[in-house]
């Protein structure tokens, strides 16, 4: 494996200063589960590795006024065991339980899952339906970006060389507490997703008051399906509506064929996963809805 310099700063400000100085020579690491294989394959050619695992400011899951804050160093396992996510924001826990295996989950972080920007990033999908806000800092600026605007392409985000994610936030709202995530992989363990879908839903008097739909592995980046969302909004739930929405989902995704599945299968399965997730949520929200 190529040589690099290793730095383990104790504060966020130290990291930002190093990033400002080293720019693209530097690579932030935490769980290492993506970075190390990529360094070995020479996909990452960093000369300086900045280990941020000792920075307390970047850890933890807690309530902050009317929001939930997730530190970027939150491990995937913490999403499973935290009371906040496992009781109220189950869509995150469901995605975490499908993530790789328990060994990887102990070290892999949500910040890492987002900056890697894989189209198959499993944690990005529930965070998209939670309409998460990404807090970004550098020595020159602080900014906040909606997660739906964070990804640019496969492996690419809007992050500049000197910037890092310092937090992820989402609102404590009814729609965010009613979410469901489904993943299809080739097997249960260590499978890169063939397709994933998450739905968050709020129903009032049998009408869809709010809905957010996100999908993974079916486009160049994790995506929100806003077309299907606006089609469904304020409509009364019935079987015909769901069937129409499935078609909208299949039209809106932009999958490719690769070693895991064909474009056609991905398009078909996205609609089906949406249907399953939507029905799960709708069934628990209303009684009139049949089959």
């Amino acid at each position: 494996m190529s040589l690099f310099k290793y730095i383990s700063p104790k504060t966020k400000d130290e990291v930002l200063e190093i990033l400002q100085k080293e720019k693209s020579n530097a690579c932030i690491v935490a769980g290492c589960s993506n970075v190390l294989p990529n360094i070995r394959d020479k996909e990452i050619k960093a000369k300086v590795l900045i280990d941020i695992t000792n920075i307390e400011q970047l850890k933890g899951i807690y309530q902050k006024e009317d929001k939930i804050f997730l530190g970027p160093l939150t491990t995937i396992n913490e999403l499973i065991y935290s009371d906040i996510t496992s009781k109220e924001y189950k869509v995150l826990t469901q995605a975490a339980q499908e993530f790789a295996d328990p060994l990887v989950r102990n070290t892999a972080t949500i910040g890492g899952n987002l900056v890697t920007a894989s189209p198959a990033a499993d944690i990005a999908i529930p965070l998209l339906t939670l309409d998460a806000l990404i807090k970004i800092e550098s020595t020159r600026d602080k900014r906040e970006v909606k997660l739906k605007d964070f990804f640019v392409g496969p492996g690419e985000t809007i992050l500049q060389d000197d910037e890092m994610i310092v937090g992820i936030e989402f609102e404590q709202s009814d729609v965010n507490k009613n979410g469901y995530f489904i993943k299809i992989g080739q097997r249960k363990a260590m499978a890169i997703s063939i397709a994933t879908v998450a739905v968050n839903l709020e129903v009032r008097q049998n009408k869809i008051n709010q809905i957010r739909i996100a999908a993974g592995s079916v486009a160049p980046t994790p995506v929100r399906l806003t077309g299907a969302e606006s089609f469904l909004k304020n409509k009364e739930i019935n079987d015909k509506l769901v069937e129409e929405a499935i078609d909208r989902v299949r039209e809106e995704v932009k999958p490719i064929s690769d070693i895991r599945a064909s474009e056609e299968y991905r398009r078909y399965i996205s609609g089906l996963l949406f249907k399953r997730a939507f029905k799960k949520l709708a069934d628990s929200s209303i009684h009139q809805f049949t089959n």
């Binding site: 040589l3 589960s33 295996d101």
Partner: protein, 158 residues
């Protein structure tokens, strides 16, 4: 490249060694500490043969930089037995024929130890779910699950 001094506890003993920034924990454990129970399998975190316990949690030592374990505690398969007395999970693996070629066994046993500590009454489904990242190329899963099940404090069906 300058070596960095790290101090950590391995199987209850304090160790102080110099490592390069790009040294993987698995290589330090095997080549410098001569603890060859942990195996280098796939090297990309898919197989679980390199599993060690880091502060009690199972992690993949092939995806861990040795410098990052400074100040931490590591348990390898060599640290489970108390003298000549095998750990209950080790005994269960022997008694249930859960060891074939043995390559995956150290990782299997360490992951199983962490599972039983976290969930002493694990059901078969919970065992299979927790062990899903540890692969056995001899495909001896039935015996492995049976061995772990025999360690469960309170036997119950799924």
């Amino acid at each position: 490249m300058k070596k960095i001094e790290i101090e950590f506890i391995v199987n209850g003993k304090k160790r102080r060694i110099f490592v390069k920034p790009n040294d993987l924990l698995i290589n330090i454990i095997r080549n410098d500490l001569y603890l060859t129970g942990s195996k280098y399998g796939c090297g990309i975190g898919e197989c679980g043969a390199c599993t060690v316990l880091l502060d009690g949690e199972p992690v993949l030592s092939c995806l861990t930089l040795a410098v990052t374990v400074n100040g931490k505690e590591i348990t390898t398969i060599e640290g489970l037995a108390k003298g000549d007395e095998l750990h209950p999970v080790q005994k269960a693996f022997l008694e249930n024929g859960a060891v074939q070629c043995g390559f995956c066994t150290p990782g299997m046993i360490l992951t199983a130890t962490a599972l039983l500590k976290e969930n002493p009454n694990a059901t078969e489904n919970e065992i299979r779910d927790y062990m899903r990242g540890n692969l056995c190329r001899c495909t001896g899963y039935v015996q492995i699950v049976k061995a772990i099940k025999s360690c469960v404090a309170e036997q119950k069906s799924d």
